[in-house]
Symmetry: C2
Subunit: 247 residues, 2 copies
C-alpha cells in the first residue's frame, strides 16, 4: 500500500478535489458549533434565513444541515428545527453505530469486538487491583451489593450487571472509557438479550463479579485478570451458543 509513500508526505487523501458549496456551509456551521457561537441545545436558524444570510440556495443549506445531522453535530427530528449537539465521544460512537452493527452481522465481527472488550476489562481489573482508590473500591462494592440483591429479578439484574462493569470503566477517571463501555453495551446487547437468563445464571455471574471484586480488594492483579477472563469467557460461550444456533 502506502508503505513506500514516504516521500509524498501529504499524499493520504487530502486532495481537495473541488469542493461543494454545501461542504463550505457545513464547515462554517461546524466551526460555529465548536466555538460555541451556536450553543448546545440551541436550534439552528430556519433554512430560509440561512439562505439569505449566506447567499446560497436552499438546496445547499439542506445538504449542509443533513451533513451536520449525519455527523451528529445536530439532532434533526423530521419537521422540527435541528438542535445543536456539542460533540462528545459518545456522539462519535453513535455516529458509527449503524455501520458497526452491520459489521456485527457475522459472528467473526462479534468475536473481534468481544475480544477487545476482554482486553479492556482485563486491563481495567489489573489497574484497579494496583491503584484503585478507596472510593473506587467502595463504588464497586455498592454495585456488587445491588447486583446481589437483584439476582431474582431478571430485568434488574441485567442493569446491575451492566452497572458493575461500568464502575470498572469509571474508576480510571477517563471519560473515553465510559463511552467505550456504553458502546460495548449498545453493540453487544442484541446478542446478549437473546439468551435465556435464569436465576441460576444470574448467581454464577454475581459470583464472578464477587471474585473480581475480591481480587481487587486483595490488590492482586493476577487474580483480578484471571477472574475477569473467566467471567468474560463464560459470557462469550453463552453468546457463541446463540450465534452458532442462528446461522
Amino acid at each position: 500500500m502506502s508503505e513506500l509513500s514516504i516521500f509524498k508526505s501529504e499524499a493520504d487523501d487530502p486532495v481537495v478535489h473541488g469542493h461543494r458549496a454545501a461542504d463550505d456551509l457545513f464547515r462554517e456551521f461546524e466551526k460555529m458549533i465548536i466555538s460555541g457561537k451556536l450553543a448546545d441545545g440551541e436550534p439552528l436558524p430556519p433554512e430560509r434565513e440561512i439562505v439569505e444570510s449566506f447567499g446560497v440556495s436552499r438546496t445547499v443549506v439542506r445538504e449542509a444541515i443533513l451533513a451536520l445531522s449525519n455527523k451528529g453535530l445536530v439532532e434533526a427530528k423530521p419537521r422540527y428545527r435541528p438542535v445543536v449537539r456539542k460533540p462528545s465521544f459518545d456522539t462519535a460512537i453513535d455516529t458509527v453505530g449503524n455501520v458497526v452493527s452491520m459489521l456485527l452481522e457475522d459472528s467473526e465481527g462479534v468475536k473481534n469486538l468481544f475480544d477487545t472488550r476482554v482486553m479492556v476489562e482485563v486491563y481495567l481489573a489489573r489497574q484497579a487491583a494496583l491503584e484503585a482508590t478507596r472510593e473506587g473500591v467502595q463504588s464497586l462494592k455498592d454495585a456488587l451489593e445491588e447486583n446481589e440483591a437483584a439476582i431474582d429479578n431478571m430485568e434488574l439484574f441485567f442493569h446491575t450487571d451492566i452497572k458493575f462493569h461500568r464502575v470498572m470503566y469509571t474508576m480510571p477517571g477517563n471519560p473515553l472509557l465510559v463511552s467505550i463501555h456504553k458502546a460495548y453495551i449498545t453493540w453487544l446487547k442484541p446478542n446478549w438479550t437473546k439468551m435465556p437468563s435464569l436465576p441460576a445464571r444470574n448467581r454464577l455471574n454475581f459470583e464472578s463479579h464477587t471474585a473480581i471484586y475480591n481480587a481487587i480488594l486483595m490488590r492482586d492483579p493476577e487474580k483480578a485478570e484471571e477472574a475477569v477472563r473467566k467471567h468474560l469467557s463464560d459470557a462469550w460461550q453463552q453468546i457463541n451458543k446463540i450465534l452458532s444456533g442462528s446461522h
Copy 2:
C-alpha cells in the same frame, strides 16, 4: 437519568417520529450494500435513474446519497459517481474522524485518547510476552531492525516507528486492533509531527522498542509492561510539551 427506566424496556428513543422519504431510500441502499447487491467498488446508478426506479424526487435521492456518503457507505467525489464502499471498522473510524479531531482540540481530550493507547499497548505487550508465536516474534524483530537502520532518516524512522507498533497490534490476529492502531496514528499524528525529531531522540525511541522486544522475547510480561509504559510515558511528555506550549 434512565436509571429507573427499567420497566419501559423499549424506551431508549425508538420513537419513530415520522420518517423522511430520504431515510427510507437510504435504508434501501444500505441494505443493498450489505447484501452485496451493490458490490464494493461499483458506482451507484445515476441520480435520475434512481428517481425513476424509486418514484421519488431528485431532492430525496440526493439527500439519501449524501447520507450514504456521510456514513461512509459510498465514497463521493464531487462530480463523480459515488462509489460503493463496503463498510469496515476502518471506514467506521474514518466516519468519526472529523468529530473526534474536534474533541482533540483541548489537551484533555488528547490525554484521554492517549491513555487508552497506553492501555491497549500495555495489554498487547503483556499478551505478546505470554503467547507470541515464533512468527510474531520474528516480525517484531524485523520491524525492530528496520527501525534501527532508519535512525538517521527522520521520515523513514517515523514510519518504521509506526510499523513496529503496528506489528504489536497485528500479533493477536484481531483486525479490529489494527483499525484501532490506524485510528491512533491518524488522530495523534497532528501532535506528533509537530515535535522536533532529532537523531538522539530516535535512538532513545529505538532503545525503548528494543526493551519491549527483549521483554517479549524473554517471556516476561511485567518487564514488557514496564517497557511499554516507559516508552509511552516519554512520548506523552513530548506531546505534552507541545500542547502546553501552544495553548
